[in-house]
């Protein structure tokens, strides 16, 4: 079946590729066969790269294999995910805490791999929650969300979570400037009262996040960022638009100025100023949630206060690079010399030079200032402009061989240009309306420049229709040769924004396969069947239960009464890879449990009907999986039925 699917895929691929590549006379059959061969992973073989894609408004991260485009996993991050009990169980609910209470959804945009020496190292993946500002850290040994930090006083955490060369910091920035701290003011006082915040989150050697400092900046919209590297290590570059400071109808009112700014932030200078006491403590309240390493139970704490720096109190902290026009991406080439702005409304791709920027700063080649931030002269920092880039250049990635690849939204294409002379050398259509694009390691010092993935906003006529909403998609192109070649279309889950990819070899050998039962520190663990029990604490009945192929113990429980809350603490006694057990309770208004080998998960059930209710294992585990079930008896309040449960003989 697998083979047949791939063949069908190859065939489908062949038709549009032949139809759309413009009848250059190439034999369609052989081109398609060539493309198919390049993405064909034979049954039982594995992909070369892991690709981590934002799940967009699903709030998840999705994991694909490249070049096949096969979906390998959905990792729940900011959204409750009943399939895994994520956000429902006692062990995971705390991860979704915020200063607003539990927020069970968000909008993920930008996955970011941890780096060592400017190269992705496969330890962690970070991703932003755009709506209720948060940053999550995923552990790539378990492919699970390990930590979530709320970003206080921010709104629309879009320029996030871009990382520095040695994973010192990840950043977040306000897409929406707002009154900070919040205040009840007229929206018409935008210019007087609204500001932006650039947030710097420190990572320790285990990846743990803590809010280090925030920088108060003029009330623009801060959009995207990338860290400097090599010679520009120590700097972070943020794009901004709406330098007009409009608060209504931004599509028109924020598109007036010919140039907006890339903010070049010297974060090493920020560290100095903070150390010298130049920052001020400001009110802030935000949640910090993490999975405890020992118990594997998520904890949450509410933190307060933020260290805020103002550019006028810390000379040399920020410089503005004028950038045409309403720039979106800020992308730094592998050498760290060039900062490429993706001007949504620009007719060129502006490329700034870090060397020239430093000279302009030394020469004080300023063109005025905003709130203590010097504006550098455009001509003094510009290395070049790429002409004829298409309509609406957005984002740029690099192949490490001297070329840059820019996604161009309105004209739906990828444009390849030379970093030597800033001229376009190749272009290829995307289907359709490409947003981000991604080369494995393409924002790092050492890209694996073999493929580029287009992350498209619209699929229109590319797939079988599925009602009013059509699928989202990605497209894979080969960039091995001089000419880009379309290899594969594949659907994605949720709107794909940014993505990151890394050679599978850097991740696959470090996978956690099971939790050692002896080391399970869950407060409700049951390490052996002989220890199973049930106990009443007032109106709460705890059941310490075990699961192993193919039975639960206990599987007959009596003595529950209406008005009780039952907590099933189920430990999976298996110690082998990929033997999860599920646990589903009839009428439970939460989710199932999916319990990995050696782990304990807790389902809370409030029985609402008198009677005998079944529970069962949902994850096919053995030939006798269908026998893996049990009963729990619920009696009227005040019943004399004693709390009993069966034990192994």
């Amino acid at each position: 079946m697998h083979t047949a699917n791939l063949r069908l895929l190859a065939l489908l691929l062949a038709l549009p590729a032949a139809g759309c590549s413009g009848g250059v006379g190439a034999p369609a059959g052989s081109a398609a066969a060539d493309a198919a061969a390049k993405v064909y992973i034979a049954p039982g073989q594995k992909d070369e790269f892991y690709a981590f894609m934002s799940g967009g408004f699903s709030g998840n991260v999705t994991v694909y294999g490249l070049p096949s485009g096969r979906l390998l996993a959905q990792i729940p991050v900011f959204s409750q995910y009943p399939e895994k009990g994520y956000g429902y169980t006692d062990q995971t609910r705390a991860l979704l805490q915020t200063s607003y209470g539990m927020v069970p959804w968000d909008d993920t945009h930008h996955p970011e791999l941890s780096m060592t020496d400017g190269v992705p190292d496969g330890r962690w993946l970070f991703i932003n929650g755009n709506n209720t500002p948060r940053i999550a850290r995923l552990d790539l040994r378990s492919f699970e969300t390990a930590e979530i930090l709320e970003i206080p006083n921010s709104a629309g955490n879009h320029a996030s979570p871009f990382i520095t060369q040695n994973s010192e910091y990840i950043v977040g920035a306000t897409r929406f400037s707002v009154p900070t701290p919040q205040a009840d003011v007229s929206i018409g006082t935008y210019k007087a009262n609204f500001t932006g915040l650039l947030s710097f989150v420190k990572l320790d050697s285990l990846g743990h996040m803590s809010l280090a400092f925030q920088i108060r900046v003029p009330g623009y919209n801060y959009d995207l960022a990338h860290a400097g590297k090599g010679p520009s290590h120590g700097w972070m570059f943020f794009t901004s638009y709406n330098s007009e400071q409009a608060s209504t109808l931004l599509e028109k009112n924020a598109s007036q100025n010919d140039k907006d700014f890339i903010a070049a932030v010297n974060w090493k200078r920020a560290e100095e100023c903070v150390a010298q006491g130049k920052a001020k403590a400001e009110p802030a309240r935000y949640a910090h949630n993490w999975v405890d390493h020992e118990s594997l139970v998520a904890k949450s704490e509410m933190l307060s206060g933020s260290t805020v720096l103002r550019p006028d109190a810390c000379e040399g902290l920020i410089y503005y690079l004028p950038t045409p026009k309403s720039p979106h991406g800020a992308d730094v080439d592998p050498t760290g010399e060039y900062i490429v702005g993706g001007g949504k409304l620009a007719t060129v791709i502006p490329v700034h030079s870090f060397t020239k920027m430093q000279k302009a700063i030394a020469d004080k080649a300023f063109d005025g200032e905003v709130d203590g931030i010097p504006i550098l002269k455009y001509d003094a920092v510009m290395a070049g402009e790429v002409q004829n880039p298409g309509l609406g250049p957005l984002h740029t990635e690099f192949d490490g061989k001297g070329f840059a690849y820019t996604s161009v939204f309105l004209s739906s294409e990828i444009v390849k240009w030379s970093l030597q002379n800033f001229t376009v050398v190749d272009r290829i259509p995307t289907y359709y309306s490409i947003g981000h694009l991604m080369i494995p390691g393409g924002d790092s010092r050492k890209p694996w420049g073999k493929y580029v993935v287009a992350l498209n906003k619209i699929t229109k006529d590319r797939y079988l229709p599925t009602g009013p909403e059509l699928t989202q998609s990605a497209q894979l192109y080969s960039i091995d040769g001089d000419k880009m070649q379309l290899l594969l279309d594949f659907p994605t889950t949720g709107e794909p924004h940014y993505a990151q990819a890394i050679p599978a070899s850097l991740i696959l050998d470090r996978q956690i396969r099971t939790v050692n039962l002896a080391e399970n520190k869950d407060p409700y663990v049951t390490r052996s069947e002989k220890d199973v029990k049930a106990a009443r604490e007032g109106r709460v009945v705890h059941v310490w239960m075990t699961a192993i192929r193919s039975h639960f113990m206990p599987d007959n429980i009596e003595g529950i009464q209406l008005g009780d809350t039952v907590q099933f603490h189920v430990t999976n006694l298996e110690q082998d890879w990929d033997v999860p057990h599920g646990f589903a309770m009839l009428g439970a208004r939460t989710s199932e449990l999916l319990i990995m080998p050696g782990m304990t998960r807790t389902l809370t059930w409030v029985p609402e009907r008198v009677g005998v209710h079944p529970f069962y294992c949902t994850d096919f585990c053995s030939a006798l999986h269908q026998e893996m079930q049990g009963y729990i008896r619920v009696s009227v309040p005040g019943s004399t039925v004693a709390l009993t449960w069966n034990k192994p003989s």
């Binding site: 192993i548 006694l573 298996e574 110690q575 082998d576 053995s622």
Partner: protein, 151 residues
């Protein structure tokens, strides 16, 4: 997935049928009838234990350690005196060699795929033997505990 001759069937019957006197006569089967397993593998199983494990007088300390492991990782499926999810193990050390038991604990997947006795037991019990992640030393301790159970 290869077929086995009558000798192998006989052997399974002998192996499972409770010959209480001595370790199994497995090595008697010829290579052609054992799916390519060596005589050593027929008698001692397939896995990390590649040499005969010599056991001396019962070591109570080891047996005690083995009991703890057995209670945590094995007892959900195995009882001593009755077939449960898997076979009763009270007399297992009279049917199988220590090395066979250890390889079954340490390498159950390959055992049920390739070893005729383990294949037959899978067909009988219809549940895969779980790999519970024991170390070789721990498996040896479990063997000692099982030796203690023989009546």
């Amino acid at each position: 997935m290869r077929g086995f001759g009558m000798a192998a069937v006989l052997l399974v019957v002998l192996g499972c049928g409770g010959d209480k006197s001595a370790p199994p006569p497995a090595a008697a089967a010829s290579g052609a009838e054992t799916g390519g397993l060596t005589p050593f593998e027929m008698e001692n199983g397939i896995g990390p234990v590649k040499e005969v494990v010599v056991v001396g007088p019962l070591n109570h300390e080891m047996a005690e350690a083995g009991e703890k492991i057995f209670q945590g990782k094995c007892s959900a499926c195995h009882k001593m005196g009755e077939k449960y999810v898997g076979p009763a193990l009270g007399q297992v050390t009279t049917r199988r060699t220590p090395a066979y038991i250890m390889n079954m604990i340490l390498n159950p997947q390959e055992m049920v795929e390739r070893h005729p006795i383990a294949k037959q037991l899978l067909a009988e019990h219809m549940t895969f033997m779980a790999n519970q992640g024991l170390t070789q030393d721990e498996a040896r301790q479990v063997v000692e505990y099982l030796r203690e159970q023989v009546k």
